[in-house]
Symmetry: D2
Subunit: 211 residues, 4 copies
Amino acid sequence: MSGAKQIVAKPMIVGQPALIVVDIQKGSFVPRPPSSRLEFMPDAVERYTRARTVVDAAREAGIPIIFVQEAHRRTMVDFGRELDGSESVHCLEGQSGTDFAVEELGMLEDDYRITKRRYSVFFGTDMEILLKGLGVQTVIMVGGFTDVCVHYSFVDGHQMDYYCRVVEDCVSGSSYRAHDAALEAMEYLQAGARRSAQDMVDAFAAIRQQA
Amino acid sequence: MSGAKQIVAKPMIVGQPALIVVDIQKGSFVPRPPSSRLEFMPDAVERYTRARTVVDAAREAGIPIIFVQEAHRRTMVDFGRELDGSESVHCLEGQSGTDFAVEELGMLEDDYRITKRRYSVFFGTDMEILLKGLGVQTVIMVGGFTDVCVHYSFVDGHQMDYYCRVVEDCVSGSSYRAHDAALEAMEYLQAGARRSAQDMVDAFAAIRQQA
Amino acid sequence: MSGAKQIVAKPMIVGQPALIVVDIQKGSFVPRPPSSRLEFMPDAVERYTRARTVVDAAREAGIPIIFVQEAHRRTMVDFGRELDGSESVHCLEGQSGTDFAVEELGMLEDDYRITKRRYSVFFGTDMEILLKGLGVQTVIMVGGFTDVCVHYSFVDGHQMDYYCRVVEDCVSGSSYRAHDAALEAMEYLQAGARRSAQDMVDAFAAIRQQA
Amino acid sequence: MSGAKQIVAKPMIVGQPALIVVDIQKGSFVPRPPSSRLEFMPDAVERYTRARTVVDAAREAGIPIIFVQEAHRRTMVDFGRELDGSESVHCLEGQSGTDFAVEELGMLEDDYRITKRRYSVFFGTDMEILLKGLGVQTVIMVGGFTDVCVHYSFVDGHQMDYYCRVVEDCVSGSSYRAHDAALEAMEYLQAGARRSAQDMVDAFAAIRQQA
């Protein structure tokens, strides 16, 4: 129990996994140049496109996929403090960029969909109801921003006792610097949390073969 | 509503403030050398000691102070996934380092005290009941780790619509690098969130004079 | 502070009110005869129809109206323990009875809508985000069942410090007996909570004139 | 899936059980005559005394016991809307009646204890952290009031997917009428939820012998 004890990572997938696609929406596939507020990452679209490979592998292995959309009411009543910082008005209902990326991600009619108003996918949503219903123990995240919605969803999942994993080449941040720091923070919480798309696709293929 | 719109920081204190002292416990005043797991910050004790000046200024101004303690049951039943990463067993009930830092922080009998099991001061606690009862709109945080309990408490407060501030020279991180990144992340969420102890002491003194 | 102290009801509306329409969906307007599981109330449709008068009065007074729908995913993954008791499968997504009662209640495009998976309108939804955004202090409920979704939404609202009111002739129960008991329970929690549609319509008209 | 389908009760105990003792505190053993506000039940003390037999049987079977105490801060800041109805000021910290009933219930040093500010044992507490840590699936409740803290804790447990049971001769209500209605409401939610102390003691004895 000493602080010097070796850290041993848990298995990548413990029990029933679920793939959570965090805020990869129509607008995520429109390249965004750096602004005075947000630097973004130049390879963001590439990263979200790569997430599709993980989605497809999950689908083939029968692993539940939960697509999460951030959307704000057009009256802007539900932004809370979200406009006090670096983010400007975003994800209004009815804007084309807010829609689920149905074609881009190959979403099907019966896929699980959750709409959220805040950063964490657990905050003010039925995510935990759904995860309990599915018997999920491990949540695997792709999407964006690495340092905001992904990071804070990871933290909530972590505090709710889920094994949490982040596919580091399928997430994109508000800046490279913030992206890197968030990945380090997630790895701090759960050793072995950072994984590659290839690792995850391989693991899903192995699950598929066992089934 | 363009992304290029200038960010204008809100006032430092909006409405009723409360000072939240996050996990400054007896053990926080024992210097900890870097371990193989955690680097710590060499001036941590200095930073927690400085927090006392903010506590005292809040008290003089009649601003509510909420002291939060992390404590885990001795059976270790409530660690959840907290031992899957960089942290080893910590803050067991009954260990001397887990106690509230009564003398070090000048705590009084009737100060508000909250015990938590997770990182966020809101998770599994009566913090929101208390903040609502006090009519608080702005929460000001000191304590540690900057990048864990402070950061994730800030995020929850932010998502619950509180104006959140962090006193950057009264918080200490699991490493300098993580500390800096967390402060940047908080500033990203709410512009002007990062404040100095001197700023806060001055603001509290001004409130005191108005009262 | 003695137990014998007189109970003095608070004003019917304190601060900003909102009207919450609990689970009055398309199917609510289809008369349901008693079954071996549920007795229902023979005047249920009449009661839900009367709720329309309160909705209209709220709209004229500019009081926010929040329409809540219970809906379960077709895979039935999110029923939790809801089928362990008197209720059978209900409110599946895609069933006509599950739809919002747009015409029956005169719902408009921009009305607030919330979908829930559990009994309480606060459980796993963005209700509190919305109420905070609207600055609501008093929640007024119509809908059904009085003893299930209305009662347990009232209890959550109560525990979250909202002034809660129930329009007793615009709610309908799983049985008369259960309906009556639930109304008594709500009145126990907040004296003066039980109100008539007429009281509410009059109060809303008064607010309208002040505006 | 028709409403006429027979209701089949689930087993009394599914998976890992825990016994939750709701608000049986020192003051619960002081007989309270009816007041103008609350009728109480004349056999309340007898009922809480009987709860001890269930506590003892749980202990002998190695079933976790969680003692819950309602306590309000002396500044009364955390009563929320609890004084708007039939209840007057109650359970202040530091009052003798607020203490855990250590001797009366045979509590041990290492028993799980939770302090709450609201009716539900889940609201603003670490109850779910603890239940998850213990791997609990079935929660069994004794205590009071049947129609307030027990009922609303049961409802939250129900909505969180726990199998919920109430020991009907070990709970006491704010009145007989309200007690009966609450028991019916709990049975509505989960068939077979109402059980006797004898049933529970027998079941615990059987678990003990299996161990």
